[in-house]
Symmetry: C2
Subunit: 460 residues, 2 copies
Amino acid sequence: MDEGRKAAKLAKTQADRYVEELIEIATIPSISTLPEHAADIRLAAGWVCDRLRAIGFENVEVLPTEKHPVAYGEWLHAPSHATVLIYGHYDVQPVDPIDLWHSNPFEPSVQGDYLYGRGVSDMKGQLLAILKALELLRRTGELTVNVKVLVEGEEEIGSPSLQAFCLRERDRLSCDLILNTDGAMLGRDLPTLVYGLRGLAYFDVKLTGPDHDLHSGMFGGSVHNPAQVLCELVAGMHDTEGRVTLPGFYDKVQPLSTEDRAEIALGPCSDKEWRGLTGVPELFGEQGYTTLERVGARPTLEVNGLTSGYSGEGQKTVLPAKATAKISMRLVPDQDPKSVGEQLRSYFREHTPPTVRLELKTLAENPPVRIRRHAPGMSAAAQSLRETFGNEPVYTLEGGSIPAVSILGGTLGVDSVLMGFSLPDDNIHSLNERFYLPNLARGVEAYIRFFNHLATLGVV
Amino acid sequence: MDEGRKAAKLAKTQADRYVEELIEIATIPSISTLPEHAADIRLAAGWVCDRLRAIGFENVEVLPTEKHPVAYGEWLHAPSHATVLIYGHYDVQPVDPIDLWHSNPFEPSVQGDYLYGRGVSDMKGQLLAILKALELLRRTGELTVNVKVLVEGEEEIGSPSLQAFCLRERDRLSCDLILNTDGAMLGRDLPTLVYGLRGLAYFDVKLTGPDHDLHSGMFGGSVHNPAQVLCELVAGMHDTEGRVTLPGFYDKVQPLSTEDRAEIALGPCSDKEWRGLTGVPELFGEQGYTTLERVGARPTLEVNGLTSGYSGEGQKTVLPAKATAKISMRLVPDQDPKSVGEQLRSYFREHTPPTVRLELKTLAENPPVRIRRHAPGMSAAAQSLRETFGNEPVYTLEGGSIPAVSILGGTLGVDSVLMGFSLPDDNIHSLNERFYLPNLARGVEAYIRFFNHLATLGVV
């Protein structure tokens, strides 16, 4: 079957060069949430465009959005054939607390089989793999479909500009299939196809009591402590069995079918391994569901951050003026981010006492996604993974959210295939993020084979 | 009555020089809780000793303790007379968030009737006033009792070394009466004598779940979020009526007598004024008590700080590895800091789920204090205030804690008189701390008159 497929063979021979180039892009601190990194964002977008030009793509441009730009390029020299839109992102998460990293997050360093650095796994590793795949396909003349590449700079902040960008650029982006490269595997030798993603609704809550921090001795007992009020409000959103108590929260949640549960039960990660991955003394979650069901098929409400009062060493006898929480929900079909957001707002409006002032801001609203497991694009992806890894791919529901999947799917009316090579212990969004380097060459190979099969299967 | 009392008259004539010297000491960032200010602590202790030497005190020394040193000096040339031990502290609170101050906290600046800077009110203003009082009493030859001066550097961290220091230096510190200068007034023209102080028990609570921050999508729903657990634990320590629910918390609290309540009701501050001081939309506190009862005569449990997860701008989809709270209690007679600490520990031990790890550290344990209102030292103080301010002094129960009062009283077996000139709207422990400058000269005068009356009344 591989006869005449030079690109897939070449993929394995150039691993060293891949690492060098990955280090190059991973050195750019393209943190999308921090305004002081705006120049780095532009640098990273420019880097992607330079690569696209180098491999012969055309109409390569840094396209503006309301916030961070999109790197775009296309190769449209297969006029009678179909068009694949490739999606990725060049932005990364913040790195604080940076002093707890064991190496500088933006001076990526190889240790054993791993490259350590912010963004190497989420998702500059995959970004490099798809660029190298396209390069080899072009060099060998094996690229037989049209390709458009869209690499955004706002995935880590919830892709706030992507919807408007897609609407504006709908013609430019028109395609028959989307390949989303922001995906993950469930284990080193477990090629994985994600057929569902949770949605995300993210909120900033701020309670203000006194108009300045007070002395807790002079005033303690006479005013309502906003940190206390915040804790009570947060505590009131879960019951003791791990269920979210916001009225209506589960109303739209699709119950798990027996078939769904059986499929999820095939997932390769045991509770013991999951404990190992997380380091928790005991797992915990909604009663009546397994760990993989809890992260894949059930919604959550999490506190992502708390701040109030004094956080330094030792004691400061302060009664804080304010308390803040970052709160987010992961959503599953058919929950709607706007509706659950309204449930949260109602809860806070009803339960915040008149002794403090409430501010509540919405930072993200992305719906959950399900992809048909047996769509032709999925079959091409499955075959390419099977050949590259020598193992049958695992189908999984991922707990994370990739707003682009619902936004691109909804705007362009096309299915997505999610294929990526990040691993569960890569510490993405955390300290000491790393990328398993053997997955770089395997990623290049798998992407090449995907394009090969698209043509073979007549998928598009 | 003032005939022959030169020092008290001189007190009013030198106000400008007082401000200059106050600025000098307030420029030293002697923050006791932050290790990086150790050199400033030594500088401040040295400054106090220099002043004591300059006014003719002897055996002036920077005496070491386990942590920050004590500045000490004495004048013992009234051999047949009694000895007064003067207590003060030269350390100050931290200043974070420093960018919210409208001027640099350690470049004190005069604006109208106020000097702005960290520590000017708590308590470098009073420290300067007592030093100036002693200088004038010495210069006019009116100091007719023996005086020992002890200025510590750990008051703002709960005086952790003072007990051991007093036991070791008991002979050197022996005295007949203690004048504690770390006191406050209830209003500009309301000279105030504090006859009770709340105790303090202060704790650091840390909950650890995962061993690193996790991606809230990949892992959310499968592990217990330590921020959520912390909020639930904090929420569980109060009922909806503002009462602390730790079992046994109120068992030792002395009920307020009708006489107590009548006296407290004379307090000059209305609820409207209290709202103005604090800036809260509504006051709040334990049901069944007035504002002044709540802060003076009832115990509290307050959150002084919360931290967990991401606190930067925008969103970070992190499931935090840990969550911390600083929690303190203000105690009233006859509560015991060790017992309530044990109540807190029991509560956390019993209610922390096995899904997270608990660490609980005690940072302070100071018992509450009551002083006999009609003791002779109090009468001398009352008379000096009456003459200086032209108003009858107010007797009050203060909500704050001064560990030195119980430690010195207990170790040396002597009564304290608390007299100081800080005001409720001085923003102590908060942003933009300030000192009402007219109180500097009035403070000097009142302290001088106090020594005058001690002799007149034959108190000691």
